[in-house]
Symmetry: C2
Subunit: 306 residues, 2 copies
């Protein structure tokens, strides 16, 4: 089970009625935050998201609207009783940005580890960060500065098949260990869990990518996602030149990515401050990808295994 909350939906400038885009994902008492602009801690308080359980904070890039809220958030996490270390993930330059921002966040009271990822490097391929049952992987997006997208996934164990265990003559007292994913040795013979389980089952996958052109990597990493959360900075195709110039997407471009990925659902976010009602333009995306939802601050969903 994965609880998702899109606590903010603004792009570039925080508005009195729209927090900057940020995603909070929680599962089994652990949580992950993606992006942390100015006011994100207030957005999270408003959406009743717990600060204390945030194990990882992932930053797409270092424009202020995606990271200026970091000092305040970390201090408030400390006030909320956080003592365990927190991992901050971001593209190359992360350590320098943290050294700068945390000059005003002395006495946070817990360790902050920096996980710096080169968007063009090779380590991104196999690298991941864990937060409870969630696995966070980064991929390369394409903005005017180095930028990452992220997937949050929870794997599902294959079904345990008692008939297979019986056929192999494994006594019942060993079944629980096998079900937990560990191998057992019975009278000198070893059995791996795969010997007594059914086929692979899809887990839960959410993809988040803002401040990017519609590059192939987004559709690839979103393959079969339950939910893709993508920027729709410009609702209208008329603004395509601006989107290209500033490294953003139109609604239609984002919807095309969701369609290519075969995702189940698309949420749009990171709306330009010039757009007072982003939902007015829903059709621009829904005509390409019908199951599109126009994001609103505090939009929540609980995803479960299919």
């Amino acid at each position: 089970m994965l609880d998702i909350c899109l606590a903010g939906t603004a792009g570039m400038v925080p508005l009195p009625d729209r927090w900057l885009t940020t995603l909070y994902a929680a599962s089994e008492g652990s949580s992950v935050l993606i992006d942390c602009g100015e006011g994100t801690q207030i957005a999270l308080a408003e959406a009743k998201c717990r600060l204390k359980t945030i194990d990882a904070i992932c930053l797409t890039h270092f424009h202020a609207d995606h990271c200026a809220g970091l000092p305040g958030l970390l201090l408030s996490m400390g006030n909320a009783g956080r003592e365990d270390p927190v991992t901050i993930v971001g593209p190359t330059g992360l350590r320098q940005v943290l050294a700068g921002l945390l000059v005003i966040a002395g006495g946070v009271g817990f360790d902050v580890a920096a996980c710096e990822i080169d968007p063009d490097g090779s380590e991104i391929k196999d690298g991941y960060v864990k937060a409870g049952p969630m696995t966070i992987r980064a991929f390369r997006a394409e903005h005017v500065v180095p930028c990452l997208g992220y997937t949050i996934s929870i794997e599902r164990r294959p079904e345990f098949l008692p008939e297979k265990a019986e056929a192999l003559g494994i006594p019942r007292e060993y079944w629980k260990v096998l079900q937990s994913g560990k191998p057992v040795t019975v009278n000198g013979t070893s059995f791996v869990p795969g010997a007594v389980t059914g086929p692979q089952r899809p887990g839960i996958k959410v993809l988040y990518s803002t401040d990017t052109r519609p590059v192939k990597s987004i559709a690839e990493h979103g393959k079969g996602a339950d939910l893709m959360i993508l920027e729709g900075n410009y609702p209208d195709e008329e603004k395509i030149d601006k989107a290209k110039e500033w490294g953003h997407m139109t609604y239609k471009e984002a919807a095309s990515l969701a369609a290519q990925a075969g995702a189940r659902e698309l949420w749009l976010t990171h709306f330009s401050q010039s757009v007072s009602d982003p939902s007015e333009y829903l059709e621009n995306a829904a005509s390409v990808f019908p199951n599109t939802v126009i994001g609103k601050d505090g939009l929540k969903k609980t995803l479960v295994f299919r």
Copy 2:
């Protein structure tokens, strides 16, 4: 004329219904901001305060709730068309804090000058920053870290007395120059404005001091102020030990300072997040200084010459 807006009134933590304490003062197309915590740019937008005209930003100290909003504010000022330089004033350490925070505010588009003041140094005595007709002076406050308070004042020229000018035989065509505060030379004889004016007249003075114990310097600098804006972090005297420990004031302590200074009015601000309705405790201050107003986000007043 001085327009004052207390755009936020929270202390330490920004809340969904209370912005962090910040003061906006505007006169003759120029404006000054004191303190800039997370969300201040949104608070200013909500209170309809113009960003483009901010000539000086004064920081009391470098706890995140007083300065974390700086990168976002500067970027939004740039978006609002600001091109003229902006002066940032703060205690010792300002340059280091700016270097850190501005790592995420590249391309602001105007010059940012740092005016670093040693709270214990001598230069504070005569130092000041100008913004339009406003003069901003810093004084030493007493917090758990180096901290400054500020006064914003507008001087009033003494009244021009035509009978004096006539008695001195100064022709009428020179009066306007003298009225504007400049000297004139008539047939080889120089006249200073003071020769044709009445006695000194009180100008407008506002004092702002948060995150401080009730030290003497506050009352001294508030002498005869039209308005003192002071923290009332703890409404109740019961919290006096906490106030001492954390370098804050109770309502009563703030009210005593306003009384000592002979101020005309006191606004309280910087309320602890544990206080849901700061106005409930008004009497704790009003019993000491009757003309006390409990601050609310967006509280405005226009001060004029008496």
